[in-house]
Amino acid sequence: MSNAFIAFQKNDDSRCIIEAILDDNPGAMVDDQPSMVKIDVPNRLVIKRETVTEKMGREFDLQELQLHLITISGNLDETDDEFTLTWNS
């Protein structure tokens, strides 16, 4: 079993994205580093637009997360509503 992960620069927007990830992915592990946050989830990591919108208090376009993105690992599936990273195990 491998971890799907994603890493963001630390800022106001990405904090909301991270909170959303933690809400939507029960197995998530946070690696909090200076100016960077990496999140590992076994097999499958999902970011839901609706949750991020609620955390931010404004409409959020999933493509906005590219602005804060450092790196990802896993097969990416991107729709208007979900951004999903998976490993086939």
Partner: protein, 330 residues
């Protein structure tokens, strides 16, 4: 000489302010909204009482019959603190200005059919006085409300209404210059259709319970008026003439859509806090809804003629649905 490079990770001693950490139950980074909102208002050691109302403290929870376990539960889902609010409004204004520029550049307002202009001005322009009254009433909520969560959002809404009044005025100027404003003022002061509306907003100017003012102004009145004018009446004008009216009222439409989310969340949170609140809100909404219907009905008559009753029924039902969604049984 060999040099060893090693990374030293310096972790901050604390992630946020103590009062926020205690609120969140953990020392984790707080959003700007939380930092700019939570517990900012003084709650103790008041030195002086207001000279005009010595029975109250400067900030006093008993100025309304609504009670809350925590006044900061009345959070704004849009998370507006001053910076976020000005940015959001700046953006909306830029787009609205673009529409006004385009209408001006292409001479669209001048080309708008005379019958359409007359219809729009008659129904729409006196609303600049309603917006100004709304500004005053929301400012009252802001100044006497308890806790920054509600008072800052009310203050922004109050300032927004000044913007609305200005946009309404500019539409009038675009359609018929200064004459439009003078006619609208006469209608507001003397026109039979407008007197119930005027009585409504002016009565609110002397209502003392700030939460009641909020419910009456923002929920009951604007909850009927905005959908009626900016959706139904707008659709009617668009179908008959051209979408110029839509372009020149973009700000108000966007503002209402966004502010509705805030208002609904405030009602929901307040009603959920305790049973007395729920009951009180239902009483207020019923009372002010009836009065608001009476105030808005003649304007619907001006706008829709024989179809006014059907349109009114629809917007009233939408308002009832909003109350039901907030958990308030009417």
């Amino acid at each position: 000489m060999a040099i060893d490079l090693r990374t030293v990770s310096i972790t901050p001693l604390r992630q946020t302010f103590g009062h926020l950490a205690r609120r969140m139950g953990a020392d984790k980074p707080a959003s700007r909204y939380m930092e700019a909102t939570m517990d900012l208002q003084p709650v103790e050691n008041y030195h002086y009482r207001p000279t005009w109302e010595p029975q109250y403290d400067i900030f006093d929870t008993t100025r309304t019959s609504i009670t809350m376990k925590d006044w900061y539960a009345l959070k704004d889902p849009r998370q507006y603190y001053y910076g976020a609010w000005t940015l959001a409004r700046g953006k909306m204004q830029e787009i609205a200005e673009g529409d006004f520029d385009l209408v001006d550049e292409l001479g669209l307002a001048a080309a708008y059919p005379a019958a359409g202009k007359e219809e729009a001005l008659q129904v729409f322009l006196p609303l600049r006085h309603v917006a100004w009254a709304s500004n005053l009433n929301k400012a009252y909520v802001s100044s006497y409300g308890y806790g920054i969560a509600i008072s800052q959002a009310a203050c922004y809404a109050s300032m927004d209404q000044l913007g609305v009044a200005q946009y309404v005025t500019r539409l009038g100027m675009a359609f018929n210059d200064l004459d439009a404003l003078a006619t609208a003022k006469t209608a507001w002061l003397e026109g039979a259709e407008w007197q119930e509306m005027r009585r409504y907003v002016e009565d609110l100017m002397v209502e003392k319970d700030w939460f009641q003012v909020l419910v009456a102004q923002d929920f009951a009145l604007e909850g009927l008026l905005y959908p009626l004018i900016y959706e139904r009446f707008n659709d009617k004008l668009n179908a008959a003439y051209s979408p110029v009216f839509s372009m020149l009222t973009r700000f108000q439409r966007e503002w209402f859509g966004e502010t509705t989310k805030w208002m609904d969340s405030i009602l929901k949170t307040t009603a959920a806090d305790n049973a007395d609140n729920k009951e009180q809100l239902a009483v207020w909404i019923k009372h002010w809804r009836e009065r608001a219907i009476k105030a808005v009905q003649p304007i619907a008559g001006l706008a829709f003629g024989s179809e006014a009753d059907a349109v009114m029924e629809e917007v009233v039902q939408n308002l009832n649905a909003r109350a039901a969604k907030a958990g308030i049984a009417l």
